[in-house]
């Protein structure tokens, strides 16, 4: 049967307005949570700088849990909302499901706030089994139950959302077409926009990750309900890191969808799917399932061939990203009649942050190196690089683009330069302190640094100066973009 694409009917003006209102709401939630979560991160560095010596360490760990979960969740939903808006050019996802997911997300976040800030539940964002069941006298039983319940709410909401987006794609393109397999065979018809291809790859991976999360929740509840059943710690660790790794990576890929769709509008050059793009993203779909093994290198009982597979997959998943997406982004911009606005600058910097964070991640995915870097500050260094200076900038770039497109308000060029400078200096300065800490053996996730690694205190203090610059940049960004998104919300019915 010949591959066909069912072209979605053009949205009516009212429908477009409704999508804009929905997207503006999501963007406002994202932009509201970002500075709050950033301040929670700053709070952690203040504690590590020994500037709150009387604070009980459990507060540090509760805030650490909230900061991690909050950031991972915020950027995932932000990316999903932005990608949904972009995809409405080609397919028809359900607005009702997106609104429903927003409600589930708000409820889940409220429960997480109570769990961590009232219950002092402090297990880190990936709640490594069996820590939630060993509170050491800090958090009460209800906090663990509420935590599992909030994860279930978020998980159900996000899974339904991902399934609906895939359904919308499959309705216009078959999944085989959406994955651009015909491009691999040398055909270019029917045309598949990169946004459709990458979103399909990301969402299939997301569903695999969410399935792992469901298994974790079920196994945890089974054990904790007093059935006498005990979980296997290695199996649970594999499931947890598979889920966490996939969630973080697909957020990154969804950010890349935005770059593929938005950046060409500023460079006045097309960025289309071709054979190489199709091969690259199908390779990613395959390799992302195995790269997570690098989180378990220090579990020496894991079979050695699995560890080798982890390093091989982690190394070669960087090739399609670098050779296809990052290289193509550079070609797109090289010598172009570029419109440098806040949106295009942030997106371009986001691709750069992805590249630099990728270098650090590949280094850390070397087993022999990981022996001395695992769970040091090198870990937050590299994931903050491709998060904060990667996908976050891509998403802030999208929000700026969206706000500008809807509000039609002209941009303050001087403010754009100041915001860019503050983001680059504040962001990379903040990261450098993490990298130096990792290179000098400072552990991650320590509320207080012991004598052996006291240099961590100095790095935390210097980092706070850079965080202040970054925060100022965020405030100015919110002034520029937040009010435009607010206007978009108000002017859309």
């Amino acid at each position: 049967m010949a591959d066909q694409v069912v072209v979605s009917p053009v949205w009516s003006g009212v429908e477009q307005q409704r999508w804009r209102r929905l997207t503006a709401t999501w963007m406002l939630v994202m932009l509201l949570l970002f500075p709050v979560l950033l301040l929670l991160g700053a709070f952690m560095r203040i504690v590590q700088a020994n500037w709150l010596p009387t604070l009980l360490p459990e507060w540090f760990y509760a805030v650490m849990t909230l900061h991690g979960l909050g950031m991972v969740g915020t950027w995932f939903v932000g990316a999903m909302a932005a990608v949904s808006y972009v995809l409405t050019q080609y397919v028809r996802p359900s607005r009702a499901i997106s609104w429903g997911t927003l409600a589930a997300t708000v409820l889940g976040v409220l429960l997480l706030l109570v769990t961590t800030l009232v219950g002092r539940f402090g297990v880190g964002w990936y709640f490594l089994y069996p820590l939630p069941f060993y509170p050491a006298g800090v958090w009460p039983n209800w906090a663990t139950w509420m935590f599992l319940f909030s994860l279930a709410i978020l998980g159900v909401g996000w899974t339904v959302w991902a399934v609906d987006l895939l359904r919308a794609i499959a309705r216009s393109y078959s999944l085989r077409v959406a994955l651009a397999w015909h491009y691999i065979r040398g055909r270019t018809e029917p045309e598949v926009p990169p946004a459709v291809l990458i979103t399909t790859v990301s969402l299939i991976s997301a569903l695999a990750g969410f399935l792992a999360a469901v298994i974790i929740l079920v196994l945890s509840v089974l054990e904790w309900a007093g059935t006498g059943f005990t979980n296997d710690a290695l199996l649970m660790k594999n499931l947890i890191f598979f889920f966490g790794h996939v969630l973080v990576n697909i957020t990154m890929y969804l950010g890349v969808v935005l770059v593929y769709d938005v950046l060409p509008r500023y460079s006045a050059r097309p960025w289309k799917t071709n054979r190489m793009v199709a091969i690259a993203w199908n390779t990613v779909l395959f390799l992302v399932l195995f790269a997570y093994f690098h989180h378990l290198y220090m579990d020496f009982v894991q079979p050695q061939w699995v560890q080798v597979l982890g390093q091989v997959a982690s190394y070669f998943i960087s090739v399609p990203a670098a050779v296809v997406t990052i290289f193509s982004a550079l070609v797109l911009v090289y010598g172009a009649s570029m419109r440098w606005t806040l949106s295009s600058i942030l997106m371009y910097l986001g691709v750069m942050g992805w590249a630099i964070g990728g270098v650090a991640a590949v280094i850390d995915s070397t087993i022999a190196v990981n022996l001395r870097f695992h769970n040091t500050l090198w870990v937050p260094a590299h994931f903050h690089t491709y998060y904060l200076m990667g996908v976050v900038l891509m998403l802030l770039g999208f929000a700026a683009h969206f706000g500008q497109e809807v509000s039609q308000q002209s941009e303050n060029g001087r403010l754009t330069k100041i915001i860019t400078a503050l983001f680059v200096i504040g962001g990379y300065g903040f990261l450098l302190m993490f990298y130096l800490g990792g290179a000098h053996s400072v552990p991650r996730r320590y509320a207080v640094y012991p004598q052996e690694v006291l240099q961590g205190v100095d790095y935390a203090r210097i980092a706070l100066g850079f965080i202040a610059l970054l925060f100022l940049g965020v405030v100015l960004y919110l002034w520029e973009t937040g009010r435009r998104c607010l206007l978009a919300f108000r002017t859309s019915p």
């Binding site: 360490p57 760990y61 402090g122 297990v123 880190g124 490594l128 089994y129 069996p130 820590l131 060993y134 509170p135 050491a136 800090v138 296997d232 710690a233 290695l234 660790k237 220090m298 579990d299 020496f300 009982v301 080798v308 390093q311 190394y315 070669f316 090739v319 670098a322 050779v323 550079l330 090289y334 010598g335 172009a336 009649s337 371009y348 910097l349 630099i356 650090a360 590949v362 280094i363 070397t366 087993i367 022999a368 190196v369 022996l371 001395r372 870097f373 769970n375 040091t376 990298y435 130096l436 990792g438 000098h440 053996s441 552990p443 996730r445 509320a447 207080v448 012991p450 052996e452 690694v453």
Partner: protein
């Protein structure tokens, strides 16, 4: 390669990436057509170079994996059990909570002959912990996870005498940062 040398390598590569992005951004000051054929050639070179470098690094680093090799017999075996919030380190097996209490409360620190190949058999009685060995100068030398239900075997040859500190490198609860152990090499 020491962690500081790895950091320098990373910094160098990061600067190269940043310079490339800066130069490409500056190129937009003079608008020109893209020579897609030349770009395709450059992409091919980039692909083969990157793949070659990664393959070379795989070849260099995989033989240096820290996992124990069968057929090599360690000079000493040291048993380690993590439990919120201390490491029990002993030359005799630790199998019960009472033995763990005794070792962490009363036993003198383990002493290892300098230059001997020691195998740490590491496990946990509760949650996951990270068994990490810090040199007398405070440098992280090696680590493995302490996992309930499993024993990870970490082999090390310690050629420098002195006091070695064990810190927990897997977040394990409210006193994670205080969890430690100690042994001597002499």
């Amino acid at each position: 390669m020491s962690p500081v040398a790895v950091f320098r390598l990373f910094l160098g590569l990061a600067i190269v990436v940043a310079v490339v992005f800066l130069l490409v951004a500056r190129s937009t000051q003079r608008v020109r057509e893209v020579d897609y054929k030349a770009a395709g050639q450059a992409r091919k070179v980039f692909f083969f170079t990157l793949t070659g470098v990664l393959t070379a690094f795989l070849g260099i680093t995989l033989p240096r994996m820290p996992y124990p090799r069968e057929g090599v017999i360690p000079d000493r075996v040291v048993h380690v059990v993590g439990k919120q919030f201390a490491f029990a380190i002993s030359e005799t097996p630790i199998e019960t909570d009472a033995q763990w209490e005794e070792v962490t409360s009363f036993a003198p620190p383990v002493r290892i002959p300098v230059g001997s190949l020691v195998e740490f058999r590491v496990t946990s009685f509760d949650v996951n912990h990270g068994f990490s060995v810090y040199s007398p100068q405070g440098q992280l030398l090696a680590q493995t996870q302490a996992m309930p239900g499993y024993v990870n075997r970490l082999r090390l040859r310690l050629n420098e005498p002195g006091r070695y500190t064990v810190l927990c490198l897997e977040f394990c609860g409210s006193a994670h940062h205080r969890m430690r152990g100690v042994f001597f090499v002499e």
